[in-house]
């Protein structure tokens, strides 16, 4: 009997091996075919980035007759590299992604964009390392730092703050940069931060003017967890709204009633359902522009806005939403007025550039805080031209999208709104770059800037001064 069992089992064993081999073979074939278009799409991405620059030029001629826009600012950090790699610098750079990883259509993908541009411009080899779990941050950073092969190691995302702090102490001769993390006191760590209040002021001004144009009584903002970082967004946005109202009054000569400003903290960055409920409540109170400062919760904002518009039989806003971080205009084309872009690509590129300058001896301190604002191209309000870049990212991440249709729809939505409003927003961007002392309701923009980092009391004070319910 035992012979029978033995025979049975070994044949079962062989059988299972064969089945597994077949399955694996199929997977391998699939992976092989997947790998091929993937490399193709990487090349398309790099191509489109170069294309966007040329598109930008033609676009400025076609859509904006005035000379207020600065096209290079939004598409590329610096069109011609002025820095060369000094002989003493290592010839590689490394990017460590957080658990979001590549394909997040936002932070990590933009970091890749910046890093690959830097590697091409400066002739450096780019090494990417993804993190499977939180426990990978420290090993990833240490493994890279140990080799000493890298001019700079870039950690993408504030989640890596603790790990970078620790490894930076252990390897004092290795340069690190952290995107969006705050490590102020280490000579070998560059903290790249963004002036979100500047970008928020721009979308605020847009929201204020558009709300009056459509004769809405209110505008809103839906936020994630109540943490001090978000106060920057709030302050900038409120200030921008009041600025926009002022401009609208002057331009049209109408006597307008100040907008009600609604704000809601949902308490979560990853809960679209909460975002939707909060937005529905604001829409019910007459808001027709809602700003998303809530990460993935914001997807619910977009949905609520789209549903509200469709319920009124429109295939475009109002009401509108405003996107955040990346150019989100394509997610619900026609319903997202614009996005407050945080140009992580610019941040990564600048960090590499700065590391090379340091090796060349042109600057004597690498570490510290690098705040990127409108002037540096670190924050911006989205333009139609940016869509090309971001749609390429979305395509690479495997989204099925119809590029031309989306671009057409966004263009159509933008043309529904008077040109002068868009021009005023661009004008504000220029103003904030040169003269941050612009005053609205007795509050200078530079005053807000000076108060940063804001705490709970300071934001209350700002809300009060700008006529926002203090909560």
């Amino acid at each position: 009997m035992s012979k029978v069992i033995r025979g049975l089992s070994s044949s079962a064993y062989i059988g299972i091996i064969i089945i597994v081999a077949i399955i694996v073979g199929a997977i391998a074939y699939y992976a092989g075919t997947m790998a091929a278009p993937k490399t193709v799409s990487t090349t398309t991405i790099t191509q489109t980035t170069t294309i966007t620059q040329t598109v930008t030029v033609t676009q400025t001629v076609a859509t904006t007759p005035t000379t207020t826009t600065t096209p290079t600012q939004t598409t590329s950090p610096s069109p011609t590299p002025t820095v060369t790699v000094p002989p003493n610098a290592p010839k590689k750079i490394a990017v460590v992604y957080d658990i979001g990883g590549r394909g997040d259509l936002s932070f990590n993908d933009m970091a890749y964009l910046g890093a690959s541009k830097a590697s091409k411009d400066f002739g450096l080899e780019l090494v990417e390392v993804q993190s499977k779990t939180e426990a990978d941050y420290l090993p990833n950073l240490r493994s890279l730092a140990r080799s000493g092969d890298y001019a700079v190691i870039i950690a993408v995302g504030f989640l890596m703050t603790d790990a970078v702090k620790q490894v930076a102490d252990e390897y004092p001769n290795q340069l690190f940069a952290i995107i969006d993390g705050y490590i102020p006191d280490k000579p070998n760590v560059l903290s790249v931060l963004f002036k979100e209040h500047e970008g928020s002021a721009l979308v605020g001004a847009l929201a204020g003017m558009v709300a009056h144009y459509y004769k809405c009584p209110a505008v809103g903002v839906v936020l994630g967890m109540e943490i001090p970082v978000l106060y920057k967004f709030e302050a900038g946005y409120y200030w921008g709204i009041r600025y926009g109202e002022e401009v609208y009054k002057q331009h049209t000569g109408e006597d307008i009633k100040p907008l009600n400003i609604l704000w809601t903290y949902t308490g979560a960055f990853n809960d679209p359902a909460k975002g939707k409920t909060a937005t529905e409540a604001q829409l019910a109170q007459g808001a027709c522009v809602v700003y998303n400062v809530a990460g993935a919760t914001g997807l619910g904002i977009f949905e609520a806005v789209e549903e509200a518009a469709k319920a009124k039989g429109r295939d475009m806003g109002p009401p509108f939403a405003i996107g955040v971080d990346s150019d989100q205009d394509w997610i619900k084309p026609g319903f997202i007025l614009a996005s407050m872009e945080k140009r992580v690509d610019v941040g990564v590129y600048t960090a590499v550039e700065r590391a090379l300058l340091y090796y060349a001896g042109k600057i004597d301190k690498f570490g510290g805080i690098l705040e990127l604002g409108l002037k540096e191209g670190g924050v911006a309000i989205s333009k139609v031209e940016d869509l090309e870049t971001f749609l390429a990212i979305a395509e690479q991440a495997g989204k099925q999208i119809n590029k031309t249709e989306i671009i057409e729809k966004v263009k159509k939505m933008r043309s529904e709104i008077p040109q002068w409003i868009w021009q005023e927003v661009d004008k504000l961007a220029e103003t904030l770059k040169t003269n941050p002392d612009v005053e609205v309701m007795g509050l200078k923009f530079s005053q807000i800037e000076k108060m940063i980092p804001l705490d709970a009391n300071e934001i209350k004070q700002i809300r009060e001064q700008l006529g926002v319910p203090t909560g």
Binding site: A12, E128, Q130, A135
Partner: protein, 360 residues
């Protein structure tokens, strides 16, 4: 004759080792073909994987491998003890979450320094055990299949801990994680500049205890007897209900302890992070480890080191050969499937054997 009996046992063991070696080779070959089709150099990738897990020149990587082995060693015990008692307890994941929550709970109290670690271990493992016991009670008194109940309890635990992370124990400075275990309550780092903490020793000791319990104590004998045949065990005077409950409790303690070790022994954050991203998957990896180690505590030790090496070697594949993480994960998956085949075959074989015996 004793010598021939020894020969039979020796042959059987040798056969098992051969099985595993063949499975590893097959797994590596198939995964290598996949990498080759994807346009990467499989040999260079495997060399990099080895360099970044067992490097002969740099002890850092061996330390990293052992640090990744520690938690899965414990969650493997959860599964192994279950299998020995005839249970398919896949609840280590949720029990580990609860253990981690217990540790954070202790971290939130203000205590004299030396109390943190022992209290965290006690409360964490008790919470893990309690979570396992829910499935145990449902199984023993209500006949609820433990596969269904444990997998559901995993998700309930996930959301309870995630809720606690956001609303009960949030870090006031960094909203992405909970408060951290105070330095007094942390397991010491064994080699400076590495991730290897005393949690590896804790895991080894617990595995030793589990081995002793299963093979040299009455309870262990009862557990194994119940697993082999509950009816025969009952006939022999064993209460299978009681032993099953004990199997759930021991498994829960192991998984809970793994959760505590991840909080108290994993630099740099010593906290539960957003989406439980520092805990996720450790419980399920334990199942793989247990299967690789033939559900035997002594087999689990090398198996966990193997899985730890795959985790740390993944870095090398990315850094040296630019293989993307997705491909690395697929390679790991194929190797694990290939390794699990002998275990599954043996399971099928024992099922057939049982049926044949019944027929006879």
């Amino acid at each position: 004759m004793p010598s021939s009996q020894f020969w039979i046992i020796f042959k059987e063991k040798l056969e098992r080792v051969a099985e595993i070696v063949i499975a590893i080779i097959i797994g590596f070959i198939i995964a290598g073909i996949m990498m080759w089709l994807g346009g990467y150099d499989p040999i260079a990738a495997y060399i990099a994987m080895f360099e970044y897990s067992f490097s002969l020149t740099d002890p850092y990587y061996l330390a990293m491998t052992l640090s990744f082995a520690a938690p899965v060693m414990l969650t493997a015990i959860t599964f192994a003890v279950g299998v020995r008692a005839g249970l398919f307890n896949i609840g280590a994941e949720g029990q580990l979450y609860m253990g981690a929550l217990g540790a954070i709970m202790v971290a939130s109290w203000s205590l004299p320094g030396p109390l943190y670690l022992p209290l965290a271990m006690i409360i964490g493992s008790l919470m893990g055990a309690a979570w396992g016991l829910i499935a145990g009670v449902l199984k023993v008194y209500r006949g609820v299949n433990e596969v269904v109940s444990t997998i559901m309890l995993n998700w309930i635990a996930f959301w309870i801990v995630e809720y606690a992370r956001v609303y009960v124990y949030p870090n006031p400075i960094d909203a992405s994680k909970t408060i951290s275990m105070p330095p007094a309550g942390r397991l010491p780092i064994l080699i400076k500049g590495t991730e290897l903490s005393a949690s590896f020793i804790v895991s080894l000791v617990f595995v030793g205890i589990a081995f002793y319990l299963l093979w040299y104590m009455v309870l262990g004998y009862e557990i194994r007897a119940t697993g082999l045949n509950p009816s025969a065990a009952r006939y022999g005077g064993i209460n299978p209900k009681k032993t099953m409950l004990w199997a759930f409790i021991i498994g829960g303690i192991a998984a809970g302890l793994a959760g505590v070790c991840e909080i108290a022994g994993r630099p740099p954050s010593y906290a539960i992070t957003t989406g439980l991203s520092n805990l996720m998957g450790l419980g399920f990896d334990g199942i793989t480890v247990s299967l690789l180690g033939a559900n035997h505590p002594l087999g689990i030790i090398p198996a966990s080191i193997f899985i730890g090496a795959l985790s740390s070697g993944a870095r090398g594949m990315q850094i040296v050969t630019n293989v993307p993480l997705e491909m690395v994960k697929a390679v790991q998956g194929i190797i694990i499937i290939a390794l699990a085949v002998p275990g599954i075959v043996r399971l099928i074989r024992s099922k057939i054997l049982r049926r044949e015996v019944k027929v006879v």
